[in-house]
């Protein structure tokens, strides 16, 4: 019955594309958990902070302008005008802004390791988890002070709106921005896999993930590894922030996208990069199909809770998630 519905395939495609967006957020969680066993509560806020910083650079905004102006009685707001003005920034400027934001995220990762994680080495996982909750609040506050709380439009030249070609060919309304997100996600996963499998640093990361003590004993620096992992997670957060921010504006509710990543992690497993992608796709398609066909019969608004029901359903059969590592404890 569903298969003959002209909307069925559109719901499936829209679910797959939404799932990719969830996966982009989930990837950041996986990277950090895989390498350090820390569930990073601040991952959603990292995405927000990265997007805020990118818009700040693109708009030439003076960071902490309100604080500076209050303290010094000045009236600074912007360093420079965005090149291109209302017609969109040129590609070189977008690339430069993304590079500057990446540098900020790497610096932030270094600060997190030095100030938050290093003093907590050898503490219980729950302590580190609590530290990331604190980090989320601090980052949200700092983001507000640095860039302000108003909604910002993020335009880095990505195509958006429905694709006329797809409408003409299939009658389906598919957003070009979501297609871009899917392409970006594929590039990201391939890059992360290559980095993890074929580079010296990647091998060191996997060694730390497998056994901290053994990795330390062969001279791998835990601090450096954490810095790298948090930097990579920061860059992934930037990508997620760009994609979500480009679709609905950069605003503080962006940090709530982390809620969408949780069922993806439960389903895909906390330690698997392909798991984050497959989990996202299953959650995306599952929740969209349920909302579209069953939702109207039970009052609608099912997406938020159904994603968790779906994830829990999978957990009944694979408690470690679809691609999670099976934990075998010998007594």
């Amino acid at each position: 019955m569903f298969l003959t519905d002209p909307f069925f395939w559109e719901v499936v495609i829209s679910g797959l594309l939404a799932g990719v967006m969830y996966s982009l957020v989930a990837l950041g969680f996986v990277l950090i958990f895989k390498a350090s066993g820390i569930f990073n509560f601040a991952q959603g806020v990292l995405a927000l902070f990265a997007a805020l910083t990118l818009v700040g650079f693109m708009d030439g905004q003076v960071p902490f302008a309100h604080v500076i102006n209050e303290a010094l009685g000045t009236n600074y707001h912007h360093w420079y005008e965005t090149p291109g003005g209302g017609d969109g920034a040129p590609i070189w400027f977008v690339a430069l802004s993304i590079a500057a934001t990446t540098a900020v995220m790497i610096l932030l990762a270094w600060l997190v390791v030095k100030v938050v994680l290093k003093p907590l080495v050898n503490q219980e996982g729950i302590i580190l988890f609590m530290a990331t909750i604190g980090l989320a609040f601090v980052l949200e506050g700092v983001g507000d002070l640095m860039w302000g709380a108003n909604i910002k439009v993020l335009d880095i030249g990505l195509p958006s709106g429905p694709s006329d070609w797809i409408i003409d060919q299939t009658g389906m309304f598919v957003n070009k921005l979501e297609i871009s997100a899917a392409v970006v996600a594929v590039i990201l996963v391939v890059s992360l896999t290559l980095f993890s499998q074929y580079t010296k640093m990647g091998r060191a990361l996997r060694a730390v993930a497998d056994d901290h003590q053994a990795a330390l004993s062969v001279g791998i620096s835990l601090e450096t590894i954490w810095w790298i992992v948090w930097s990579v997670a920061g860059i992934v957060a930037l990508v997620a922030g760009i994609m979500w921010g480009a679709s609905s504006g950069v605003q503080f509710s962006l940090s709530l996208i982390a809620l969408k990543a949780l069922p993806v992690l439960m389903l895909g497993g906390f330690t698997s990069i392909p798991g984050a992608i497959i989990g996202g796709l299953i959650i995306g398609v599952g929740e969209k199909l349920f909302e579209f066909y069953i939702g109207p019969m039970i009052g609608g608004a099912t997406e938020n809770w159904f994603a968790y029901v779906l994830a829990l359903g999978f957990l009944l059969f694979r408690p470690q998630g679809l691609f999670g590592e099976r934990i075998i404890e010998r007594i």
Partner: protein, 430 residues
């Protein structure tokens, strides 16, 4: 702005220690400058604060009595809102603007017991419009039920007065606020013969693909929206993505700010919303606002919100509060008014066009006349439309009256049920 906020918090803490100072007129502001809804909370809080500052700086206060604004951050969180109420009421608070339907519901019994009036301006519990039951609660100039009926009336006028066989969808925030208009829209569908399609969106509303696929499938003639925060921006973006005719997409007054339309870019062009006040800064009061507040460095925020929809809304809320305080002074013959006196002032509030002109706000908002029976005001609204190229709203209709024939019996039914549940005796000689 942040330092000013810290200073305000410190000042609040000091004054709490010092005990109430009734020589000043205390107006608390339960604002939300942080959290996911901050982009909407900031302009409202700025407009509310700046108007009071203007009255202090230009006129020396209300009838010479200085205003003291106490700002308390709620983060749009109900528990924090109640904490703010509890921590500021001892200051001699004259009236509360809870700025959230959730907080309003929590404060109605508390404030009623404490004899402090609440002004839930265009939000909160709709049936509080019945002053016979809700002595201390006011929701002028209009309620959600008024808004729903005005929008339906407008749609009807666009369709030549006939809605039979038409389909109207309501995309709503799946919360007490978003559900408020449903009952009225159901009654109106019986009266006008249109089919109502209900489409809830869960908080925060960042993902609405299925909702808009339903809209593509069901093909409603019009879509109404009761949204808030990011839900509004995403809905407008999604409507543009499925090429829904934007002039058939109409939001309530909380889905009607620049924040909601600008992120959608050109796609938002033609989107409409109901409002009860003017748009932009082309009003004489703004010259004074710039002279006495902004240029004097006394603005509550960065000064970049003047003339935006939500800044104007904060300003109109403060204007009605000031006028009610003035009325209370006149009724009771004293400048040191209490919250009970303020309530009397609110119940006798009468701000028509002539008074608006005197205030430098000609044509800025609907004329409001409150009475013992009706705390809901005139129930009038206008439709505004977004011009994406000019990035501004324009008012495109005159004042439209709510469908009193449908709305009033609903208000009566709901408020009477509340009265009997809570053993409230009817006032106003009924």
């Amino acid at each position: 702005m942040k330092l000013a906020k810290l200073a305000a918090i410190a000042a609040t803490a000091l004054t709490i220690g010092a005990g109430p100072a009734f020589a000043e007129l205390v107006f608390p502001s339960l604002s939300y400058r942080t959290g996911p809804y901050a982009p909407n909370g900031i302009p409202f809080a700025d407009g509310y604060a700046d108007y009071f500052t203007l009255i202090n700086e230009r006129d020396g206060g209300i009838e010479g009595q200085k205003i003291k604004l106490i700002e308390c951050e709620t983060g749009y969180n109900t528990e924090k809102g109640v904490e703010c109420y509890e921590s500021t009421k001892g200051e001699g608070a004259l009236v509360y603007q809870p700025l959230s339907t959730g907080i309003t519901y929590q404060l109605i019994p508390k404030a009623t017991a404490d004899h402090i009036p609440i002004h839930s301006m265009g939000y909160g519990r709709t049936s509080a419009a019945n002053g016979k039951v809700f002595e201390y609660v006011f929701n002028y100039p209009g309620t959600y039920w008024d808004a729903a009926s005005i929008i339906v009336k407008y749609i009807s006028s666009e369709e030549g007065g006939d809605l039979k066989g038409k389909k109207i969808a309501l995309v709503y925030h799946n919360s007490a606020y978003g559900k408020e208009p449903i009952r009225t829209l159901e009654e109106l569908s019986k009266k006008h013969g249109y089919e109502l399609l209900l489409l809830p969106v869960d908080h925060p509303g960042q993902e609405q693909k299925s909702t808009w696929l339903q809209i593509r499938k069901e093909r409603p003639d019009y879509v109404m929206m009761w949204g808030w925060g990011v839900m509004n921006q995403v809905a407008i973006q999604e409507a543009a993505n499925i090429r829904f005719p934007m002039d058939h997409f109409i939001g309530v007054w909380w889905s009607a700010s620049e924040n909601d339309t600008i992120p959608a870019g050109d796609g938002a062009d033609g989107y409409k919303a109901i409002t009860f006040h003017g748009v932009g800064d082309d009003f004489p009061i703004y010259a004074d606002m710039r002279k006495y507040v902004l240029d004097a460095g006394k603005a509550a925020g960065a000064g970049d919100q003047l003339g935006t929809v939500l800044y104007n809304r904060g300003m109109v809320a403060a204007m009605w509060a000031v006028e009610a305080a003035r009325k209370a002074m006149e009724i009771h013959g004293t400048k040191e008014i209490t919250p009970e006196m303020m309530r009397d002032g609110m119940e006798a509030l009468d701000v028509g066009e002539a008074r608006l002109k005197e205030l430098g706000l000609p044509g800025f908002t609907v004329p409001v006349k409150v009475s013992c029976e009706s705390h809901g005001g005139p129930g009038l609204g206008m439709i505004q439309q977004w011009d994406a190229k000019a990035k501004k709203w324009s008012i495109i209709t005159g004042l439209i009256e709510a469908d009193r024939e449908v709305v009033d019996p609903l208000i009566m039914e709901d408020s009477q049920a509340f009265a009997s549940e809570n053993n409230i005796e009817m006032r106003c000689g009924s």
